[in-house]
């Protein structure tokens, strides 16, 4: 039998699961996160192998979902120094690279930055011929000062030959990793440039993490292919992740949404993940998370990453319930107020049901009989208080669900997370509530699922290219990238195909496609 291990390193817990070749869960475990280094997952691997009772030699693939890169940016820690070659002169000089970056992030990352003649117009014409001598001189000026280089060509999503050539020169002169913007982001120069710089800064960061993970696997006698989870809910091979570490950012909520889809067998639904403090609601479309239309800010700078669209509201198992003089402030006829604060991990000592003195959402769920906890009796509460609090919880959940629904039609929801029982069973606007097994480890399951995707985007003038040709070109690119990232060509399917008009420009469209397939 072939197995795969999925590990999700979160801020509080590290979850690990073993899936069999039919992608059924064999075992799942949860341990406190001790360290963000690769060695920190060794304990989780020990435990889950024991729980699954399988031999290390049977594990053929190991998937890691990690917030390591996100934390490195947020904490400005362990980042590489990046030189920037922007190809766009004489345009774009009004706002040079690193403009608007927070001072501390700039101090941690910024190496020498140059705007060099080159780049393209929206229709593929050159802004200027590429100044190869300028690129070479800039690279020389970076010698000894940078760990990696970001190459960013204006309109490289339309034409990327300048980016390619400049990257070749930089690699030849400096011998350090080079990130090209066309491989990182879409139209929007500053956002794409920022994301490319972050990617370059994270190359060593992820490399160290991956080396630790490899060591941990080797120490257990596991000889498996290594994959990393990325923000769109798909996997990338280790070699790919080492080139595109920035794509691991945001994989946490994505993994949980994907895992919920797999565990429930539903591919179009809302996923409602109720934890200790918050409820996170994401939208499953064709088995993948719906992505946000807003620009994502990471570490205080704008990027154009497409992050999963998640709504967080202050409701979890530990959410403090106030009103009627119980659980905190408020007395008599005061209306019920839910949170937004939570007793968090102290729930096992502070909630009424656990002998504490704080009224929490968990107590309400026990009082209405939705939740039973072994060895704990439901707290004795005023029935009217319970009814009102339960109603308040219902309204909060229904409101949040409605806000995320793609249309007014009723939708199924998949309820996961440690606090799932806090939510009522029947909800307005919901066609069906699904509570899958292993719901607590949905994130690790999501990390292990093993679909691999590729994305492509290009701008076309419909005066030169027919709509059909444009669509075919971009579809082909997306499929090729999915295969490059590790997908089995036999199983690759195009998931989304978007055609976006360009305001004020007749006959000009942006075509964007995403394809994904099973691990090859």
């Amino acid at each position: 039998m072939n197995y795969r291990i999925g590990i999700d390193v979160g801020g509080t817990n590290t979850d690990a699961i073993v899936l069999d070749s039919d992608r059924k869960v064999v075992a799942s475990i949860k341990t406190p996160t001790q360290s963000h280094s690769g060695d920190g997952v060794a304990a989780a691997i020990d435990e889950v192998l024991a729980a699954a009772a399988i031999a290390p030699g049977e594990v053929r693939a190991a998937m890691l979902g990690t917030t390591h890169c996100t934390n490195a940016i947020v904490e400005r820690r362990g980042l590489g120094r990046v030189g920037v070659l922007r190809l766009g002169g004489p345009a774009t000089t009004a706002v040079p690279p690193f403009e608007g970056w927070p001072e501390d992030l700039r101090a941690a990352v910024a190496g020498p930055a140059f705007v060099i003649a080159g780049g393209n117009e929206f229709d593929g014409r050159e802004i200027s011929a590429l100044d190869e001598a300028g690129v070479r001189a800039a690279a020389e000026a970076m010698r000894g000062k940078v760990d990696a280089v970001a190459v960013v060509g204006v309109f490289s999503p339309v034409a990327d030959t300048h980016e390619l050539r400049a990257a070749e020169i930089a690699a030849e002169v400096l011998g350090v990793p080079v990130s090209r913007s066309v491989e990182i982001g879409s139209i929007g120069l500053l956002e794409r440039e920022n994301a490319t710089i972050l990617n370059a800064a994270l190359i060593r960061t992820l490399g160290d993490m991956a080396a630790g993970f490899e060591r941990a696997l080797a120490a257990h006698g596991i000889d498996a292919d290594i994959y990393f989870g990325q923000n769109d809910g798909t996997l990338m091979r280790l070699e790919f992740a080492l080139r595109y570490p920035v794509f691991t950012i945001g994989c946490g909520p994505t993994n949980s949404i994907r895992g919920a889809s797999h565990l429930s067998g539903v591919s179009d639904a809302l996923v409602v993940d109720i934890g200790g403090t918050t409820t996170d609601i994401g939208v499953l479309v064709g088995g993948f998370p719906r992505q946000s239309s807003r620009a994502a800010e990471i570490g205080g700078i704008r990027t154009n990453f497409r992050m999963p669209d998640v709504l967080s509201v202050g409701l979890g198992g530990g959410t403090i319930v106030r009103g009627h003089g119980r659980g905190g402030v408020g007395a008599g006829d005061a209306p019920i107020v839910l949170g937004p604060d939570s007793v968090g991990y102290r729930i096992a000592t502070e909630a009424l049901a656990f002998g504490g003195s704080t009224l929490t959402a968990t107590d309400i769920a026990m009082a209405v009989g939705r939740l039973e906890i072994a060895g704990r009796a439901a707290p004795a509460l005023d029935p009217e208080l319970v009814a009102q609090a339960d109603q308040a919880i219902r309204e909060l959940v229904e409101e949040a669900i409605d806000q995320m629904k793609p249309s007014a039609a009723p939708v199924p929801i998949v309820l996961v997370g440690g606090g799932a029982r806090v939510s009522p069973e029947s909800l307005a606007g919901v066609s069906e509530v699904i509570r899958p097994e292993h719901a607590g480890a949905a994130n690790a399951v999501g990390a292990a699922l093993g679909d691999v995707a590729g994305q492509a985007e290009q701008v076309f003038s419909l005066r030169e290219t027919s709509r059909q040709q444009a669509v075919e070109l971009v579809r082909g690119d997306a499929i090729a990238r999915a295969v490059e990232a590790g997908a089995d060509p036999e199983t690759v399917e195009v998931l989304t195909l978007e055609e976006l008009p360009v305001a004020y420009m007749e006959d000009t469209v942006i075509v964007r496609a995403r394809a994904a397939g099973r691990l090859g």
Binding site: G88, G89, P90, A91, T92, T93, A94, V95, P96, E99, G100, G119, E121, F122, D123, R125, I127, V154, F155, I187, G188, L189, L190, E191, S293, R294, R302, D402, Q403, M404, K405, P406, S407, A408, P501, V502, A503, Y504, M505, E506, T508, I510
Partner: protein, 400 residues
């Protein structure tokens, strides 16, 4: 009601710290269009950091003889966020205008306060060490070059400059606003879809006659209220309406949204179902780049050229026509446009008929009063003891 961090005193100097406030206020006045102000913000901040703060002139302080120059970007928003302007572009445009007219530029003015074009002139003023005028020629955002108050007063575009990053610089004298728009479109396309433009450069006397005064101050105030740490989220919209004499038209959520592209412009409509006090009502928004028509239960609630802004119900932050989507909880507000837009020529240029909506123009304060007489929930928020038109008239007198 707590007071916002910024007072209502007119702006005297624009510093780097003012830019984020102006940008978000300009997004509100952009009524859903006007483009993303992000690039313009960074450009303006950098220019101020390198060249110093920008002195602000009230419209009534302008020297009648001095040349007042509106400068901004024209073209496709998706190009302007990718092929950003060259550092020399604004200066080159001003140089060509000075050569062509034989006059020195005395002050810079925003042509349009809504969206990114509120910030480019601040960058230009900083780079040249010139003052900026606290006023503009729209008082909001509009999609076409002739939709400016100069045109309403019978002034043509005059010496018109288009400059690109390559160094191409074109000086033309279009015979009227419609020709200016037509020529600019062709040139801008060839210039790669985005260019720096100067038009309607006139002596201060004309700017004093035509400019809508106080709009930079207004943008900064709105932004200040939306970003203030002294106001709670649920106080922001009320504070803004109080200060500016606006109306809360509707609280609701988007239940349906349609978009179509026609001739390079996005046309669309959104249906909203009421929440809170508006629970029993239905609302509809029609937009083309900007929000143009709002109806409540089939009755017009506000219509262009009055300003219609869609705000996030929780934070008060503006939502653009591009990012509006199903499920969004919004508060729709409206502000009266400047009286110049309510003239016959104003309605002809940018009223409902021009945009293809078959409704007459009726001032938002009239519509609100009518709605208030019919049903209780449509509450006009007007400062005690004043009316909206009085507030605006006072502004006009102060400026003219």
């Amino acid at each position: 009601m707590k007071t916002a961090a910024h007072g209502s005193a007119p702006l005297q100097t624009i510093t780097e710290a003012d830019i984020d406030d102006i940008a978000i206020g300009a997004a509100v006045l952009g009524t859903g269009g006007g483009g993303d102000p992000h690039v313009g913000s960074l450009h303006a901040k950098r220019a101020i950091r390198l060249h110093g703060d920008v002195p602000v002139l009230r419209v009534d302080e302008l020297d009648p003889e001095g040349l007042v120059v509106p400068v901004g970007m024209i073209g496709a928003p998706s190009v302007s966020i990718e092929r950003i302007a060259g550092a020399e572009e604004l200066g080159r445009a001003l140089d060509l205008l000075e050569q062509g007219t034989g006059k020195r530029v005395a002050a810079i003015m925003p042509i349009e306060i809504g969206g990114g074009n509120s910030l480019i002139p601040i960058a230009a003023a900083a780079e040249r060490g010139l003052p900026i005028v606290d006023g503009d020629a729209m008082g909001r955002a509009f999609p076409e070059a002739q939709m400016v108050t100069f045109h309403l007063a019978g002034y043509g575009p005059g010496a018109t400059v288009l400059v690109d990053a390559q160094g191409n610089a074109v000086l033309s004298y279009p015979v009227n606003g419609a020709w200016s728009e037509r020529l600019a479109r062709v040139l801008t396309f060839e210039m790669g879809g985005s260019a720096t433009m100067i038009d309607y450069a006139y002596p201060g006397a004309v700017a004093r006659e035509c400019a809508i005064p106080g709009t930079l101050t207004m943008a900064r105030e709105i932004g200040g209220m939306l970003r203030s740490s002294e106001l709670r989220d649920d106080e922001r919209i009320g504070a803004m309406l109080d200060r500016l004499g606006g109306f809360r038209l509707f609280d609701g959520k988007v239940t349906e949204i349609e978009r179509a592209v026609e001739g390079g412009f996005t046309r669309g409509r959104a249906a909203l179902a009421g929440t809170g006090a508006d629970r029993a009502s239905q609302f509809e928004l029609s937009f083309q780049n900007e929000m143009l028509l709002a109806t409540r239960d089939g009755e017009v609630a506000a219509v262009t050229p009055d300003l219609i802004a869609v705000l996030d119900q929780a934070t008060g932050h503006p939502i653009t026509t591009e990012t509006l989507r199903y499920g969004a909880r919004v508060t729709v507000v409206a502000f009266p446009c400047h009286p110049q837009w309510r003239s016959e020529r104003g309605i002809e240029t940018a009223g409902p008929g021009y945009f293809g909506y078959d409704v007459p123009f009726t001032p938002v304060e009239t519509l609100a009063a009518r709605a208030a007489a019919l049903v209780a929930p449509a509450v006009p928020v007007v400062p005690a003891g004043s009316t909206v038109s009085a507030t605006l008239a006072a502004r006009t007198e102060a400026g003219a």
